[in-house]
């Protein structure tokens, strides 16, 4: 098989047109999903069964079914109800864009909630005890002691989840959205040249994911001063806290 380079370049530039939509869907669903995920994770660690149980059920259902089912239920399924078709939500739920973003957000919330819960539970009990002993409690304890440590602990898992989300946005093409994979499918069915199109689209996804991985590695480094080599002396460290 000979690779046709002009066609390769043409495919690449065409596929780049899908990148903004891919990124938008990722960003929108990751941000919304994160808010819901924090809520779910707090419900899971609340030690109150009437909060824990619904969160568990939510996570079980969204992790146990394919994302494609979730997208189809929202985009195609909801139109079965006339009540909904006449509600104020309909202008949103009618559009593939909002349906895909909603499904992606609900889906990632379930996975992220478990990552966040893992991070929260990883904070050593002794440190929490020590904070309580100094009189911290409730929100202050969460904000000053638990959350900063949990955040660092869950970064690797969360970076994986974002990569999964970048890949998952491809499913938006099944509900007519023309993001990278949607354009790729169209190009393939027009040209019957799957290999060239696949190489271009694959390279685009790998590039996006590479950037995500590097960004998270940098963030983890920035948030982990104690894992870096200790400074030679304290004298050359300016008082950052007051600056």
């Amino acid at each position: 098989m000979v690779i046709d380079f002009p066609f390769l370049w043409e495919s690449f530039t065409t596929l780049l047109n899908g990148v903004p939509l891919t990124l938008q869907l990722t960003a929108l669903s990751v941000v919304t999903g994160a808010v819901l995920a924090v809520l779910l994770a707090l419900m899971r660690v609340s030690n109150r069964w009437w909060l824990d149980l619904p969160a568990q059920a939510y996570i079980f259902v969204f992790r146990g079914t394919p994302l494609l089912v979730q997208i189809y239920i929202i985009y195609y399924g909801l139109s079965q109800f006339p009540e909904l078709r006449h509600s104020i939500l309909w202008p949103f739920l009618r559009q593939a864009y909002w349906c895909a973003a909603l499904a992606l957000a609900l889906n990632t919330a379930a996975y992220s909630a478990e990552i966040i819960r893992g991070g929260l539970l990883s904070v050593p009990a002794g440190q929490i005890e020590a904070a309580r002993a100094t009189g911290m409690s409730g929100f202050l304890l969460m904000r000053r002691i638990i959350f900063p440590q949990a955040l660092r602990q869950m970064l690797p898992g969360y970076s994986n989840e974002i990569i999964l989300m970048v890949k998952s946005t491809a499913l938006a093409s099944t509900v007519t959205l023309m993001e990278v994979t949607g354009i790729a499918a169209k190009l393939i069915s027009q040209s019957y040249r799957p290999i060239e199109v696949f190489i271009c689209a694959g390279a685009i996804y790998l590039a996006i994911n590479f950037i995500v991985v590097r960004a998270f590695a940098a963030l983890e480094y920035a948030l982990s001063p104690e894992r870096r080599p200790a400074p030679a002396s304290t004298a050359d460290q300016p008082e950052k806290a007051r600056a």
Binding site: T65, L68, V69, Q70, T174, A184, Y192, P194, F198, G202
Partner: protein
């Protein structure tokens, strides 16, 4: 028509269709999973190879396949093999596009993707092996193959079970994507039903419930296998 009639086994019910489609989902997922196990173990073996090019190929395989959408891989396999088949068909005078068999291409696509994940699971399991126990086996005169069969394999299998369970769940859910190339599994059957009855919610909800059932039951199965395999490992007090 109410829901129970719709999904029932009566003359107008879709029960049998959905049941057969469930069987198809399990079959294609299982085939893809097994193909993935073969590719994953080959990949893991290559990753531990002394031969640098083999290690590089294995690294490339797992990085690329875990970094791109599964749907893209399914399209590549379907259109790729279809264009090969069409080209062969043209030699014999057939005209136009000939579609590749959806089951085969779907299972292959899932296999190649899950192989990349299974490779990581196997690699992790081998890295988790206690070095001292392998050394002890060597010190007792075990030749490499015996050592692999009696000491490495049973222990690595044990460490691999949880990860293998995760990959199986992934494969089951991934199999829904094969509906885009026309294989009549749960998702495609639901699309057909939704189209002809105009009750998409009922069908997709049923599809979701069926997936949930399969993932739940197989999750239980893996947990049981894990408990059996973890005999002899100290439980956290």
């Amino acid at each position: 028509m109410d829901y129970l009639q719709l999904m029932g086994f009566g003359p107008n019910g879709w029960g049998y269709g959905m049941l057969a489609a469930t069987g198809m989902t399990v079959a294609v997922a299982l085939c893809g999973y097994l193909i993935g196990s073969v590719l994953g173990s080959l990949g893991a073996a290559a990753a531990f190879s002394r031969f640098m090019p083999l290690r590089a190929i294995a690294g490339f395989y797992t990085t690329v396949l875990r970094g791109i959408p599964d749907l893209l891989v399914i399209y590549l396999f379907y259109f790729g093999s279809s264009s090969v088949i069409s080209a062969v068909g043209a030699l014999f005078g057939a005209e136009g596009f000939v579609g590749a068999p959806a089951f085969l291409t779907g299972a292959m696509a899932i296999g190649v993707v899950s192989g990349a994940y299974q490779m990581q699971v196997f690699r992790g399991a081998v890295l988790a092996l206690p070095k001292g126990e392998i050394e002890a086996a060597r010190a007792y005169g075990m030749p490499s193959f015996l050592l692999f069969r009696r000491i490495i394999l049973p222990q690595a299998a044990r460490f691999a079970i949880p990860g293998m369970g995760n990959v199986w769940q992934l494969v089951l859910k991934e199999s829904a994507l094969i509906s885009v190339i026309g294989l009549v599994e749960i998702m495609r059957q639901s699309q057909i039903g939704a189209g002809s009855t105009r009750q998409p919610f009922s069908f997709y909800l049923t599809a979701g419930a069926l997936y949930l059932l399969i993932t739940f039951v197989s999750g239980r199965g893996f947990r049981l296998a894990e408990r059996r395999a973890m005999r002899g490992v100290r439980r956290a007090a």
